[in-house]
């Protein structure tokens, strides 16, 4: 996946906040090549279709369907375009939904410039990028109930469970460890850490385990019962 390692990744920014787009552009403009910006689902799909960038930096929450809609529409014609989800407001079920739609990672908008550039590069190289928060969500989602009691397992039951190694890696990510630190902590190579993370991503996207959806549904239910739901 090392497509001409020296060229900068071509990036399209999709975010409905103009202020945020210009901020990101100014910050990472040197480490990546920002080829386009879009502020809504429709224009974003059209632009990605035309430019075919390496990475789309995608806001999870947008009017008109959100990041999920963009990914679903683009994936059909351009499976090679990679998505990195970015959000300020991260309700777990929204984040998991975007990842399941096909995003290769998720970072929060509070991420530092260097980390963001690094994350984009990683996604461009085909790796997965898990922020500490996403790692927490994933652990939570896969732990939602013992999978032995799962009534309808996936076609491939392997997909329904994390291995203990994957769990360990996720735990360390959730604690703010970098891949390098994780490798040292677990006495494995950085490449192995990366492959664990990619495998978690694959499970997250392919598992049809209804627990994942049930988990999301329960959380949403919790929200609406507890009080005013700000996102509607």
């Amino acid at each position: 996946m090392s497509t001409e390692a020296r060229t900068l990744p071509r990036v399209v920014l999709v975010d409905d906040h103009g202020l945020f787009r210009s901020g990101v552009r100014a910050e990472i403009g040197r480490q990546v090549e920002v080829v386009g910006e879009a502020d809504d689902v429709g224009p974003a799909i059209e632009m990605i279709d035309r430019l075919v960038p390496d990475v789309v930096l995608l806001d999870v929450h947008m009017p008109g369907g959100g990041g999920q809609a963009v990914i679903t529409a683009v994936k059909r014609d351009h499976p090679e375009v990679r998505f990195l989800a970015l959000s300020a407001s991260d309700a777990p079920e929204d984040v998991i939904a975007v990842i399941r739609a096909g995003a290769r990672g998720y970072v929060t908008k509070t991420i530092s410039t260097a980390e963001l550039a690094d994350a984009i590069q990683r996604v461009a190289d085909g790796d997965a990028v898990f922020s500490h928060r996403l790692a927490g969500f994933v652990l939570d989602a896969f732990a939602a109930a013992p999978s032995a009691q799962d009534v309808k397992p996936s076609f491939d039951p392997e997909l329904d469970q994390l291995t203990s190694r994957e769990r360990e890696v996720l735990r360390l990510i959730a604690q703010g460890y970098t891949y390098k630190e994780i490798a040292r902590e677990l006495y494995i190579s950085v490449k192995t850490v990366e492959s664990h993370v990619s495998s978690v991503l694959r499970k997250l996207q392919l598992s049809s385990r209804h627990q994942l959806t049930r988990w999301a549904a329960e959380r949403r239910l919790d929200l609406s019962v507890q009080s005013f739901d700000g996102r509607k």
């Binding site: 300020a88 407001s89 991260d90 309700a91 777990p92 509070t110 500490h132 928060r133 790692a135 927490g136 652990l139 939570d140 732990a143 939602a144 109930a145 013992p146 735990r171 959730a174 604690q175 703010g176 460890y177 988990w215 329960e218 959380r219 919790d222 929200l223 019962v225 507890q226 009080s227 005013f228 739901d229 700000g230 996102r231």
Partner: protein, 385 residues
């Protein structure tokens, strides 16, 4: 309340209505000083009208009592007073009450005429049908009054009811619908007011503060983070960020985050997996975690502290980690040792474990593990959200 009123009305043979109206007339409404009566006294035309209508009603009732003395005598005569009172109220009530009453009566007025053609035709048909039903029903009732047969008056009663429903049904429906709509509108307005007051209290205040502290980057970051956390917990966890005591592990950890960030100005990244209610052991765990976090904020010099809490079926684990100075566990300076012991002491008293990993220049990680008490684990077995 209303049902009680209706029942009392029936029991007291209709005397409640005039008494109620009298009360309306004589007792000043909340917030106003003059009762309606104080104005009605000067309304000579109103009084004349009331007396006139009352006497007209007397004549009507007199005629009716020839046909059916029982009913009129028990329920009818009292209403003469009611009508008189109602006229006075109608003419002299404050504007707001008048508007409300007019709104109620509006559909009745439209019975008389006006409105669009098709509507009028519908109304006409309704009116004719209602009158026919009423006439038939009343006729039946009156003719069968002396009769012993029970079924026939019943049929008459049904006809009368049907007539009344046909005549007044749409009006009742409209009143009911208006009530529902009004309640919804009020709920929406309250929600909006709640929302704007929250935004004012939190976001706007913080933005103002940020503008004033623009020359102090650290303060600005801290303010922004605190605000972000507050909004997030309100939006996604549906929790008002009060100072109320935490009741679950994740709430407890967030409280630690808030307090440490506020008091020591060091950002704390929190990730929690699973959740469960707090008990004595877990409170001790959180207290130890607080010590460890405060410790890291005070001594490590790290730019950020990460706190990770995971609730498992058999145990709860909290890891506090920083990338700060670190220390050599074998050569701990006195002050640090004391703090470490308070962490250790707390944990071991409740059957928990502590492991500390640290190396000079590489930061520190304190891992606290507390087994869940058998009963709690049983009751909440694997209770993760």
């Amino acid at each position: 309340m209303r049902i009680v009123f209706v029942v009392i009305t029936l029991v007291s043979q209709g005397w409640t209505i005039p008494f109620y109206l009298g009360g309306w007339l004589l007792i000043p409404a909340r917030g106003t000083e003059a009762s309606i009566w104080s104005r009605a006294r000067h309304d000579s035309r109103g009084i004349a009208l009331a007396v006139g209508l009352a006497s007209l009603l007397c004549v009507l009732l007199g005629l009716a009592s020839v046909l059916n003395p029982g009913l009129v005598n028990t329920y009818g005569w009292q209403q003469v007073v009611s009508v008189a009172f109602l006229v006075l109220i109608w003419r002299n009530a404050p504007d707001s009450e008048q508007a409300a009453m007019r709104h109620l009566v509006e559909p009745l007025e439209s019975l008389g005429g006006g409105g669009e053609h098709s509507m009028r035709r519908g109304l006409g048909i309704r009116l004719v049908a209602a009158v026919a039903l009423l006439a038939a029903g009343f006729g039946w009732l009156l003719t069968s009054h002396e009769n012993v047969a029970l079924l026939r008056p019943l049929a008459g009663l049904i006809l009368v009811t049907a007539g009344i429903v046909l005549l007044l049904g749409p009006w009742w429906l409209r009143i009911a619908r208006d009530l529902v709509l009004e309640r919804q509108a009020r709920a929406r307005a309250e929600e909006r007011a709640d929302l704007s007051s929250r935004i004012h209290d939190s976001v706007l205040q913080t933005l103002a503060l940020i503008q004033r502290r623009a020359d102090d980057p650290q303060q600005v970051v801290q303010l922004a983070r605190a605000q972000e956390r507050e909004l997030r917990s309100w939006l996604f966890e549906g929790r008002t960020l009060g100072d109320g005591d935490a009741t679950t592990v994740s709430e407890g950890v967030r409280q630690i985050q808030r307090d440490v960030e506020a008091r020591h100005g060091v950002p704390v990244e929190v990730v929690t997996v699973g959740d469960c209610p707090l008990d004595d052991d877990l409170n001790a765990l959180l207290a130890a975690a607080r010590e460890a976090t405060v410790n890291a904020a005070k001594w490590s010099g790290a730019g950020v502290i990460s706190v990770y809490a995971e609730v498992e079926p058999e145990q709860v684990q909290v890891a506090v980690r920083d990338r700060g100075k670190g220390f050599d566990p074998d050569a701990v300076p006195g002050d640090r040792k004391g703090l470490a012991e308070s962490v250790h002491g707390r944990m071991s008293r409740h059957g928990g474990r502590v492991t500390v990993h640290s190396a000079v220049g590489e930061g520190t990680k304190v891992t606290l593990t507390m087994p869940r008490s058998a009963a709690a684990a049983e009751a909440k077995g694997g209770n993760r959200r």
